[in-house]
């Protein structure tokens, strides 16, 4: 299994040609992202929005670090949370070592977090990177479970179930900033997000980064080119550990508490989910995944108890139908734009995807209504869905939801051939030929 272990998408799909590897080194996206990060807090001004953005940024760093393994190195890890967690716990101990911390400006703390994560990755990587594939995945699972279990037993370092907490404001003021306010923390995290993302991107352009791709695709051939697949994996692994540790440090700064939750398999599973949802084939995939998932988790969970169910459905559907993830979906459209034919897609998309979205919403309405009927209190027949309040025990809403869903899917089905045709048209090179 090991040699074939790789993310393959259909090689005939044009999106394939636009892999991270062949993208030109352009500054524009970086400047745009930097600018967006700069002005976001001016658009979303309140603290909860900033908290959510902080969470997003931390997840982005972590997901990018994870994709150094999964997307670029072809290594599937089921226990990556421990590197972020240990980085964070290490930082928390630094925060609590007040003599040292009072001489350290807070923005430098993530460097230490990275080093903690890297040190752990060196230890584990020394034996786990011998092979990719199932053996690697299983070792990562085992080590992850072990360290998570230890976190409850070894109270001296992990603080048991309560975890350990500290106060970021005891650090050396950084140009007069004490990081009392969420917004100050936001800029710290945003700064580190830019730095880490840039470094991780540059890593993928270095000789070792290129060879990580080579080893992912064909470890044997790489060996016959003078590279030890094991060492290439090892280097990817420890750098991934470093940036995971940075993410952990940012977590420590933002939340000022670390617990067992930062280490357990559920967190490791989430980061896998985030990364895959975004798309492992592209550098920016995990970024999209992290944004989408954080919104799903924080905003959708305010709306429905069933958010995890929807997340699960979305994830399985992604794996089954869009293995390139959201990024893959976006990049599929690049050729059409290049050919200047993206306009052709607009109407067919509207005609097909809009009903599809409505159908899915209708379906979720049915799910929510079923859930309400089953689990709501007696006498509480009223439920609010899509800003309409109705009686979930009467027939009418059910019929409406059923009809809307059925009609929407019927329209989707009817219009699909048109969309497929438009798709082919838009992806044909102008002037005939392929």
């Amino acid at each position: 299994m090991s040699e074939q272990d790789q993310i393959t998408t259909d090689p005939t799909k044009p999106a394939q040609r636009m892999r991270a590897g062949s993208m030109t080194l352009s500054l524009t996206p970086w400047l745009v992202s930097g600018f967006v990060l700069l002005i976001l807090p001016l658009v979303f001004t309140n603290n909860s929005a900033i908290t959510i953005m902080n969470q997003m940024a931390i997840t982005i760093v972590f997901a990018l670090a994870y994709n150094m393994l999964l997307g670029q190195g072809g290594m599937l890890s089921f226990g990556h949370a421990v590197y972020a967690g240990v980085g964070g716990f290490g930082c928390m101990h630094i925060m609590n070592a007040s003599d040292f911390f009072s001489t350290l400006p807070l923005p430098l703390l993530p460097v230490f977090g990275g080093l903690f994560g890297m040190a752990l990755a060196m230890i584990v990587g020394s034996f786990s990177t011998r092979s990719a594939g199932t053996v690697f995945a299983m070792i990562s699972l085992g080590v992850g479970e072990l360290i998570a279990a230890c976190s409850i037993i070894i109270v001296a370092f992990f603080g048991g179930e309560e975890g350990i907490s500290g106060d970021r404001t005891y650090g050396l003021p950084f140009f007069g900033v004490e990081f009392l306010k969420q917004i100050e923390v936001y800029y710290l995290i945003a700064g580190w997000l830019m730095i880490s993302a840039a470094l991780m991107y540059l890593f993928s352009r270095t000789p070792i980064g290129r060879m990580a791709n080579a080893v992912r695709d064909n470890p044997e051939r790489a060996e016959f080119l003078g590279y030890s697949a094991r060492w290439v994996r090892f280097y990817s692994f420890i750098f991934s550990g470093f940036f995971a540790g940075v993410a952990g440090a940012l977590f420590a700064i933002n939340y000022e508490i670390l617990t067992e939750e930062n280490l357990n398999t559920a967190s490791s599973g989430v980061i896998l989910l985030v990364t895959f949802l975004g798309g492992v084939g592209f550098f920016f995939g995990p970024i999209i995944g992290a944004i989408a998932f954080t919104l799903l988790q924080t905003v959708l969970s305010l709306q429905t108890e069933l958010w995890a169910f929807y997340a699960g459905v979305l994830f399985v559907a992604t794996v089954m139908f869009f293995p390139g993830g959201l990024a893959g979906l976006i990049m599929m459209h690049v050729p059409a734009f290049k050919f200047g034919k993206a306009r052709l897609l607009l109407m067919p998309y509207l005609k097909t995807l809009l009903p599809a979205v409505i159908g899915i919403l209708g379906l979720s309405a049915l799910v929510e209504m079923t859930f309400h009927v089953r689990h709501a209190a007696t006498g509480e027949n009223e439920m609010t869905l899509f800003w309409t309040t109705f009686d979930s025990h009467s027939f009418l809403p059910w019929i409406i939801a059923l009809v809307v869903t059925a009609v929407a899917f019927w329209v989707t089905r009817r219009n699909t051939p048109e969309m497929v045709e438009a798709w082919h048209k838009a992806n044909t090179f102008p002037g005939g030929g392929a």
């Binding site: 090689p11 270095t206 000789p207 070792i208 080579a214 080119l225 003078g226 030890s228």
Partner: protein
Amino acid sequence: MNAITDTTPALAIEDLRKSFGKAEIIRGVNLRIGKGERHAVIGPNGAGKSTLFNLITGRFPPTSGKVSLHGKNLAGMAPFQINRMGLSRSFQITNIFPKMTVFENVRCSLLWSKGYRYSFWNLVSKSRDLTESADAILDQINLLNRRDLPAGVLSYAEQRALEIGITIAGGADLIMLDEPTAGMSHSETDYIVDLIRKVTEDKTLIMVEHDMGVVFGLADYISVLVYGEIIATGRPEEVRANPKVQEAYLGAALEAEH
């Protein structure tokens, strides 16, 4: 010392044996290949040619015997270590990086020999030396016009050419090619033969090949491997004349060709 180094063969194989379970596939092979030789290993199907290649390049460990490269024993070395000593090989079944571009395939194979090793402080795109060398090799193997396509979408002959390009890119002085023309049409074969001749100038070449036209056109020396043993080694005309060879293999093959 000098006198000795001069006569040290590029590759020396002494009583090499390999068994898979009870079956002994390589049964005591001895071979010396001098510097600058173009040496072809021929033999009927199942003779153990690919296994011999795999033993030399460290893909499998031998059961017994010794392989030395420029006088250095290769025992216990991994493929990447052997490669670093100046031995590079191609594969019978195309073995490239299908998802990377053609250019990147070649560039990856240049990295180690250009001294980049496990560097994480250089950017590959910033190195003009790397880009120029890779382009030069692409030019050599006539794939410059395919430079930015994923290797997986190339035609079969182009992939074989790329395979050779990857093999020679690292500048190894001993090149081993495993059936470089397998499955090709006549015109494609001619193209590859020219290519091999061009890129192995001043190098030692060992190749496994079935196409006798290619073998006799390229090789300075030929060894015949039958059932895990070398039954003859020599100049093409000597081998052609060897009755044992004719009996075991060549006669039939030559007849079939005419």
